[in-house]
Assembly symmetry: C2
Homo-oligomer: 218 residues x 2
DNA sequence: TTTTGTTTCAATGGACTGTTTGAAGGAGTT
DNA sequence: AACTCCTTCAAACAGTCCATTGAAACAAAA
């Protein structure tokens, strides 16, 4: 039994693991450091989570759930919203989720997820199906409505082009800050960047719609 | 003294390191495995390269030089070429360089570079200045010519949106293959994907040009 | 109080790792 | 033959890390 203020060892471990994994990554983080930070014995990780890897997965899942809770991808969207409005909400939520909303730990945790994309572990499949599939289907749905008559490959490619613009801010954060400080995503310019990607993508899709043979709005 | 067919220990190490690093990454690769594959003693890495990390950097540099040699970003471009043609050549070379041209080892080595972007080591700065800066300046130059009068931030953001579409194929290779096999970049569809990204980007830039206030072609 | 089950603990096992060492091999040169 | 330099080698060093173990502490139930 725990009160709301005092966390049990299990939860303290998760919080500590959040910080340590976020800062050091899966490989470099040590069970000892996590346990020290949590004020627990080294054996606690094995006891509560089975292994360091399973604790890592627990951290990722917790992060993904919290991210979607804090920044739902259909924020402010109703059935009356236009596809443009829905796309904008999606982009904004994606950027906030992946790049963080100011909290440095959340930000670094996004990088852990990035690692999982670049170098998938055996748990990637589960993670992907549980937390990414539905979100991406939502984007496909938005794009499909904006490109009536477009074949599915074209829709999927458009969605990829849109997502690609977003993930670059995570992928090449270091490189972008070397190019120009104005380029890097911050809480202060997130709306400006959202609007830019929206504009760029709308232009891209408009061109595809134009070059599509004989498919009107019918 | 070596003949052209028989490689010395130093070169055999580099070749072996290529394979092992490509498959396992910097952390998981072991000096022992590299040396075994190279038919050399464990001490050979220290002897020839100083350390495992320095060997890793040597592998990356070697890969970057080879990539640019095999797929120059201005292939077939003359002073008469239009910005569209130059952008297409750039995109194609970028995709071939980053994603590989069929050779599985080259492909995995691209992933090593990806790692360096996501989780930069202390050598990232050198690597970036030596192999990325000039290439990206080339892209900025192309974009600038396509958007006369556009401010530098706009140009940089366009370049980012273009690059973002490309790197996704590396970044989310696993995820994309789960979504649809047609999405993943292969030697067979590289031209199709190049054209798609080119089209999408031209559309995006056209829209930005249109929404730009009062800047004609003057 | 005794019993029972859960949680915490210090200590350690067992396995890897990158790197060093000092000797041995081998090819030229003096 | 003796010396020198470069290269290779087996062995070990020194360090790190995750996971386990068996006992102790604790709390709730009997």
């Amino acid at each position: 039994m725990e009160t709301t203020t005092e966390l049990g060892t299990r939860d303290r471990l998760l919080q500590a693991a959040r910080k340590v994994f976020a800062q050091a990554g899966l490989q470099n983080a040590t069970v000892r450091e996590i346990c020290t930070l949590a004020g627990a014995n080294v054996a606690a990780v094995s006891y509560y989570y089975g292994s360091k890897e399973k604790l890592y997965i627990a951290v990722l899942e917790d992060y993904l759930e919290e991210a979607e809770r804090r920044h739902p991808r259909d924020l402010g969207i109703t059935e009356l919203s236009t596809p443009e409005e829905r796309l904008r909400a999606y982009l904004r939520a994606f950027l906030l989720q992946t790049l963080g909303d100011g909290d440095p730990i959340t930000e670094r945790l996004g990088k852990l997820l990035t690692q999982e994309f670049v170098e998938p572990t055996q748990y990637f499949g589960v993670l992907f199906e549980r937390h990414c599939r539905a979100k991406h289907d939502l984007l496909l749905d938005i794009v499909r409505k904006m490109l009536p008559g477009m074949d599915e490959l074209g829709v999927a490619r458009c969605a990829s082009s849109i997502i690609g613009q977003c993930v670059l801010f995570d992928f090449a954060k270091e490189a972008m800050s070397r190019m120009s400080p104005d380029l890097t995503l911050k809480a202060s310019n997130i709306d400006s960047i959202t609007d830019f990607i929206l504009d760029f993508s709308l232009g891209g899709m408009a061109r595809l719609r134009a070059s599509q043979p004989g498919q009107g709005k019918a």
